[in-house]
């Protein structure tokens, strides 16, 4: 259990670092690391249950390897700078991230179900969701919205993992595939945006209004 606890804290640390880094390469690498850690958590929770292992494997292969590789390839093809452009300074985002994590930990205990196998994971999962949204809100490049969404999705995965004995395997696999498909489509869309407007700056797209 100690090991799993440490792993969960490490997951939180990766999430925190993802908000603070200024280089997209670093963020993608952190995301890959986060998925590897989550896969390990999944293995750690498996007490001989096959579907934990299979879900962890799928996580490792799809989100730990395939998606980061795809994102790196996307960044190269797009020919945009690998710098994160945001509205907030690093220190201010860190401050906000700290506040959100504090909120998640304050609220987290309420959300724990009676038979949760990993109650410590719930606040971390909530933090991941909030941090993912924070990076979606505060960053300008379309690709950072994708990364924020992926982090949020990891939070949902961790929540399912720590609240129940994992979702049924099919759902788990479906969600993992879903995320992959979403990222794939987002990549296609970003290419189209780049081709259409010559940039991928979501702050400059303001035509969708009432």
């Amino acid at each position: 259990m100690e090991v799993v606890n440490t792993l969960v804290l490490a997951v939180l640390a990766t999430g925190f670092l993802m908000v603070s880094r200024r280089s997209l390469d670093a963020v993608i690498r952190l995301y890959a690391l986060q998925n590897v850690l989550l896969a390990l958590v999944s293995f750690g929770l498996a007490k001989g249950e096959l579907h934990f292992v299979l879900a962890g494997l799928a996580l490792f292969v799809l989100k730990g390897v395939a998606i980061p590789w795809y994102l790196f390839w996307l960044l190269d093809r797009l020919e945009v700078s690998h710098e994160v452009e945001g509205y907030l300074s690093v220190s201010f985002s860190l401050l906000l991230a700290g506040l959100l994590i504090a909120l998640a930990f304050r609220v987290g205990a309420v959300f724990v179900l009676p038979e949760a196998p990993l109650p410590q994971g719930v606040p971390v999962a909530l933090s991941l969701v909030l941090l993912g949204m924070l990076s979606m809100v505060s960053r300008k490049k379309a690709i950072s919205q994708v990364l924020g969404f992926l982090a949020l999705e990891n939070g949902v995965f961790l929540l399912a993992l720590s609240e129940s004995h994992g979702l049924p395997l099919f759902v788990e696999l479906g969600v993992a595939l879903d995320a992959f498909a979403a990222v794939f489509l987002a990549g296609v869309l970003i290419f189209r945006i780049k081709g259409e407007m010559g940039h991928v700056d979501t702050a400059r797209m303001r035509a969708l209004r009432g």
Partner: protein, 552 residues
């Protein structure tokens, strides 16, 4: 639900399916007629069996449907624009109204109610761009009505009777043209094609009354203020609608205002019933419904024979088509409340109800008398300007055998109801209306009149003062005729100029409400800045707030 209603529902479904392909064939008319006849039969059975309000409604709906069965195919033949769509939608609209009258309270009722509103909106909106304002008014009124009903139905068990009945009063009152929610009706009903106008005014508005009446069994007896509100608003609305209708230059528009007036009297009768529980009010309530459905159906269907709706461009129709003139005269005489018409019988019951009621209610008699006088003025103007005098222009008339038959059906039933209202009122018990005595009185009065006024008369052309020959345009104008009466009422303002124009302060109140709403929506629109990050931020804040709520 009785078998008769099932048969009629099936017939209506069949009619709508046939209508889509072959509305001109005899099958459509047969199915519609079958649906109408079974409705009349089933409704009559329910009414005479246990005196249910739904029975009255189904009965009058069936009567209108029977008239439409022969009227609609021929009418659509003269107006081929969108004819299959109309032929398809009209039976469905009828079906939705049957559903409303049969559905149990709760979600099934709301389903049929909204379906009816939607179909009604489509039927009005089908007329194209010139019907757009009317269709929009209809739609907004339906939304308001829906809001009131949702408040009542969803709030049942949670809210007090005051709130429930406020919701019902708005929900059903809007449909029944309760003052001041009546403004949509004279806008929406006249712009639809005539058979649809007849259905909207003749039948659909009655469902608001039916709902208010049934609500006392669904939600328990209403608070006292509901009865007072119905009496006050009903009577005031009746006077208001007649005065406003006097200034209406559109024939069908004027008929729509007359609907508001009649509905006002029915609402007042219902309010009187709520307050006192007297059967007299109930008799007035039901008899007026059927009488109004018949004569308003007759008038709207009759106006469908004309290609022109502006009263000031009609004239002299009596000589061109005496049959139409006679039928319309019958409808208007009944509508004006002349004895022995069905409306007179209903108003007679209402008079008695008010006279023998406790408290301040007898004062309502004054308003009733004013309504009676104004209604006479109102219909004299319409009939005189449109049917008498000299023709003011070329107006095309279409009245084939089918349409004629439809009008005659309504006219015959109307005459029957007028002569024997006590037969209709049998389920309420008591000889409410001694019609033979009235006949004797009428005969005596007529004899007295001839005896007192035996002056010889002669007919001659109008004298032109010897200056220049008279032209048809020198006849009274529709607004000019009613101008002396309009001056008497402060809630309308006439602007005098080359052409008199009307200023209705109530309309400006609604405009103000609309502008305020627009202002509020623009405030909300400020949220939709177009910035992706702002949208995402709103989501984040929502999440944080939800989490904060959990803490509380």
């Amino acid at each position: 639900m009785s078998e008769g209603v099932m048969v009629s529902a099936l017939a209506l479904v069949g009619a709508s399916l046939v209508g889509l392909r072959a509305w001109g064939s005899g099958g459509y008319a047969l199915l519609l007629g079958l649906g109408g006849a079974t409705l009349v039969q089933a409704g009559g059975g329910m009414w005479y069996g246990d005196g249910s309000a739904a029975g009255v409604f189904l009965h009058l709906l069936g009567l209108l449907t029977m008239a439409l069965a022969s009227y609609v195919p021929e009418y659509l033949g003269h107006h081929p624009k969108e004819a299959p769509v109309y032929a398809f939608l009209v039976p469905l609209f009828l079906l939705a109204m049957v559903g409303v009258a049969q559905a149990p309270p709760g979600l099934p009722f709301l389903f049929f109610w909204e379906g009816m509103a939607l179909l009604g909106y489509l039927l009005v909106a089908l007329e194209g761009p010139k019907a757009q304002a009317g269709a929009r008014a209809f739609f907004l009124a339906s939304r308001l009505s829906g809001a009131g009903l949702y408040l009542a139905f969803l709030g049942q068990g949670h809210l007090g009777p005051d709130w429930i009945w406020a919701g019902l009063l708005v929900g059903f009152g809007v449909k029944a043209a309760l003052f001041p929610f009546h403004l949509w009706l004279p806008r929406a009903h006249p712009v639809a094609i005539s058979p649809v106008s007849a259905l909207l005014s003749g039948a659909m508005t009655k469902l608001g009354l039916y709902g208010l009446f049934q609500a006392q069994t669904w939600f328990g007896p209403p608070p006292v203020w509901v009865g007072f509100a119905l009496v006050l608003l009903g009577l005031f609305g009746a006077v208001y609608a007649l005065v406003r209708g006097l200034a209406e230059e559109d024939l069908k528009g004027a008929l729509a205002y007359s609907s508001v007036e009649n509905l006002g009297l029915m609402l007042a009768a219902l309010g009187g019933y709520f307050l006192t529980g007297k059967v007299l009010f109930l008799g007035a309530f039901f008899l007026h419904q059927v009488g109004h459905a018949l004569f308003k159906g007759l008038l709207f269907l009759g106006s469908g024979a004309l290609s022109e709706r502006q009263v000031s461009r009609l004239g002299g129709l009596w000589h061109r088509m005496p049959l139409l003139g006679g039928l319309v005269l019958l409808g208007m005489a009944v509508g004006a409340g002349l004895p022995p018409g069905a409306v007179f019988a209903a108003e007679w019951l209402l008079y008695q109800g008010f006279l023998f009621a406790p408290g301040l209610l007898p004062l309502g008699v004054g308003a009733l008398a004013l309504v009676g006088a104004l209604a006479l003025y109102f219909y004299v103007r319409l009939f005189g300007l449109a049917f008498l005098g000299a023709p003011r222009g070329n107006v095309a008339l279409h009245l084939g055998p089918g349409m004629r038959f439809g009008l005659l059906v309504l006219a015959v039933i109307l005459v029957g109801l007028s002569l024997f209202p006590q037969e209709f009122l049998r389920p309420l018990g008591q000889g409410l209306y001694p019609s033979w005595a009235l006949w004797v009185l009428l005969a005596l009065a007529f004899g007295l009149y001839r005896w007192l006024d035996p002056r010889p008369s002669r007919s001659y052309g109008t004298w032109d003062c010897g200056f220049q020959p008279l032209t048809p345009r020198m006849q009274p104008n529709a607004l000019g005729f009613s101008e002396p009466a309009l001056r008497l009422f402060p809630f309308l303002r006439l602007k005098v100029g080359e052409r008199p124009e009307l200023d209705e302060p109530l309309e400006r109140v609604y405009q103000g409400v609309g502008e305020g709403f627009g202002w509020a929506t623009r405030l909300v629109q400020a949220l939709q800045s177009g910035s992706l990050h702002f949208y995402l931020l709103l989501q984040l804040l929502t999440l944080v707030v939800v989490m904060g709520v959990v803490l509380l």
